[in-house]
């Protein structure tokens, strides 16, 4: 930094004394930090570090207590299968949460889309690819409704999606007539809908196409968030919408498109859902809504926007999966799984608050 005090005459009388003062301008103070502050800074700079550490610790803990039944390749790959749907829906939720929004309708969109795909392909006999595309279009349509209500009517995303959650779920019950399409029927008439459930065995590990589909989606979203202008703008809009607007970003257009993209991802989640459970039920995926928010929050994203990563969400989903699987193998009652996941959310948010208080 230029040494202004001595190189140039001070222009204002009161600035004459500057010569005698320190000549540094806006430099970094190197302060001694306590180990706790160092940790806080490290976690602030590396938002995915916390979930990554928690994941490793929980795998180690269950490996220690449950033993080889938990640590077997088969079981670990099973956990990846179990988190496929949360991973996909969590990806949609991540994009929304980065913009400081929240989408409570993701689960309902997914179920509605799966029912539309099944009805069109199995009951009405349309070609499966067309039914699939129709489901994706329906997901986009749900996103258009959410996005329009958020950006045109300026309603809070929480309220909008609380409303559309009920609306989409009611439409789902009406369209499906509350009837489940059996797995055998789907397999006979439209096997494409179950394609993502196809198992792949690799060295004792058992994956499905759906697992790879989820990982591919996560990679794609990572690229968009970190390597494209659209991704950077999502963070900017979530961080400070006014600043983003003054920087020339069309904030409403970004917000609108993120809800539409989330809707499309939910429709893809519907495809993985059918692959996972085989049948098509209007009652399936009831927990996906809150599970997706849990994965995002446990993955280190901030509900206040501007912070979060897709890798974090994937790890968050895996943490929840590991907890559920590990506790189930420990013969612990399901209610304690819920108990543990509940604490996980609260601890994750408390940790986020602490990290945000980092002093510059």
């Amino acid at each position: 930094m230029t040494d202004i005090g001595s190189s140039r005459p001070a222009a204002q009388a009161f600035e004459l004394v500057l010569d005698k003062g320190e000549s540094r301008v806006a430099e970094f103070e190197v302060r001694a930090r306590s180990p706790l502050q160092k940790l806080q800074h490290f976690l602030h700079a590396n938002p995915t570090a916390v979930p990554a550490i928690v994941l490793l610790l929980s795998v180690a803990a269950f490996g220690f207590t449950v033993g080889s039944r938990f640590l077997s390749t088969f079981n670990l790959s099973l956990i990846i299968q179990q988190v496929t749907i949360i991973g996909v829906i969590g990806a949609a939720q991540t994009l929304i949460v980065i913009t400081a929004g929240i989408d409570l309708s993701v689960g309902a969109i997914m179920v509605l889309c799966s029912v539309i795909m099944g009805k069109l392909a199995v009951t009405m006999g349309l070609p499966a690819p067309i039914a699939l595309l129709a489901g994706v279009a329906a997901g986009a349509g749900c996103g258009v409704l959410n996005g329009a209500l958020v950006t045109r009517l300026k309603l809070p995303p929480f309220i909008v999606t609380l409303g559309t959650w009920s609306i989409f779920f009611a439409l789902n019950l009406w369209y499906s007539a509350s009837e489940t399409i059996r797995s055998q029927e789907v397999a006979k008439i439209a096997p494409l809908l179950q394609a993502l459930g196809t198992p792949v065995n690799v060295l004792g590990a058992r994956f499905t196409y759906g697992s790879f589909f989820m990982l591919g989606l996560v990679a794609l979203i990572w690229f968009v968030l970190n390597r494209t202008a659209f991704g950077r703008h999502l963070y900017a809009v979530g961080d400070d919408p006014d600043a983003a607007r003054l920087s020339g970003i069309r904030t409403d257009r970004i917000l609108f498109s993120v809800y539409v993209i989330a809707g499309v991802i939910c429709a893809l989640g519907a495809w993985t859902l059918i692959g996972r459970i085989g049948s098509i039920s209007p009652q399936a995926g009831q927990t996906a809504n809150l599970d997706s928010i849990t994965a995002v929050v446990v993955g280190g994203a901030s509900l206040f926007g501007g912070r979060g990563s897709i890798i974090g969400t994937l790890i968050g989903a895996l943490i929840v999966g590991v907890f559920r699987n590990g506790l189930a193998l420990s013969d612990v009652d399901v209610l304690w799984q819920e108990f543990a996941v509940g604490w996980l959310i609260i601890i994750a948010v408390a940790l986020d608050q602490w990290i945000r208080k980092v002093s510059a």
Partner: protein, 265 residues
């Protein structure tokens, strides 16, 4: 109303006539006029609520006036958004700085005008050219003597107030090819950092770019402004030459304690 005392006859670079803006029953701009000439520093002063910010927002595209005309180099322009003004070479440093704290310095400098890779990676995959953006950001900050930050990829939220101001000014100076508007650039800064920003403003003018400086700091205004636009009750009251008036005169005009002769006449 007369043109500036030291630029008779020239066409203003940025000109506004009869700008109007009402918010319900509040009139923010009441037939406001504005003239900025090539290569000058024009200070805009006025009491709180005089409509300075509305004027600046209209000129920077952040506000669309209800009526009135803006001309850039004699040609009428209609800014519907900050992007339009930026495309015309007008950059603004807002009082709030308009930075995104969780993004890096380089990301912030290129926010809204990112560079993409050459070839299909850029056109089809929409991939950003991060290397080029980091290099240019580093060059611009160094040019302005602000490169004390540890890394161009540091998040803005880790910077001090002065450093953030520096990033915002560097962004405006780097992209503003014709006009740089600065809204209270020294309000949040210490004495030394303020001095640095004033030097930056002089640097920008040296490159032939016109500067609009909104400030409440009379010593700073009288030190570096070529002309002073006094805003009162939503319109331009008068434009004075800082060499022929004192700070007390300017304060008297802007608070209504005194009426300039040309207006009274």
């Amino acid at each position: 109303m007369s043109a500036g005392p030291n630029v008779p006859g020239a066409t203003p670079l940025l000109q506004a006539r009869g700008l109007n803006k009402r918010y319900g029953r509040v009139t923010a701009l009441d037939h406001a006029d504005f003239d900025l000439y090539q290569g000058e520093i024009l200070a805009v002063i006025g009491d709180n609520g005089a409509g300075k910010s509305s004027l600046i927002r209209a000129l920077s595209g952040a506000l669309v006036p209800d009526a009135g005309e803006i001309r850039l180099a004699g040609m009428p322009v209609a800014f519907r958004s900050p992007l339009d003004a930026q495309a015309a070479g007008i950059e603004t440093v807002h009082q709030t700085l308009a930075l995104s704290p969780s993004l890096s310095i380089a990301d912030n400098m290129f926010l809204g005008r990112e560079l993409r890779r050459a070839g299909p990676l850029g056109t089809i995959c929409r991939m950003l050219d991060r290397k080029a953006m980091q290099r240019i950001a580093r060059e611009k900050l160094t040019e302005l003597g602000l490169m004390t930050v540890q890394s161009i990829n540091q998040r803005v939220e880790t910077l001090s107030g002065g450093q953030r101001q520096g990033v915002a000014v560097a962004r405006a100076a780097a992209f503003g090819s014709r006009v740089v508007i600065m809204d209270e650039p020294t309000a949040a800064l210490g004495v030394k950092e303020s001095r640095r920003v004033l030097e930056l403003i002089l640097d920008v003018r040296r490159r032939g770019i016109s500067v609009v400086l909104i400030s409440h700091n009379m010593p700073h205004v009288f030190e570096i402004a070529d002309r002073i636009h006094i805003h009162r009750l939503g319109r331009r009251l008068t434009v004075i030459d800082p060499k022929s008036y004192t700070m007390s005169d300017a304060v008297a005009f802007m608070t209504g304690a005194r009426v300039p002769i040309e207006v009274a006449a």
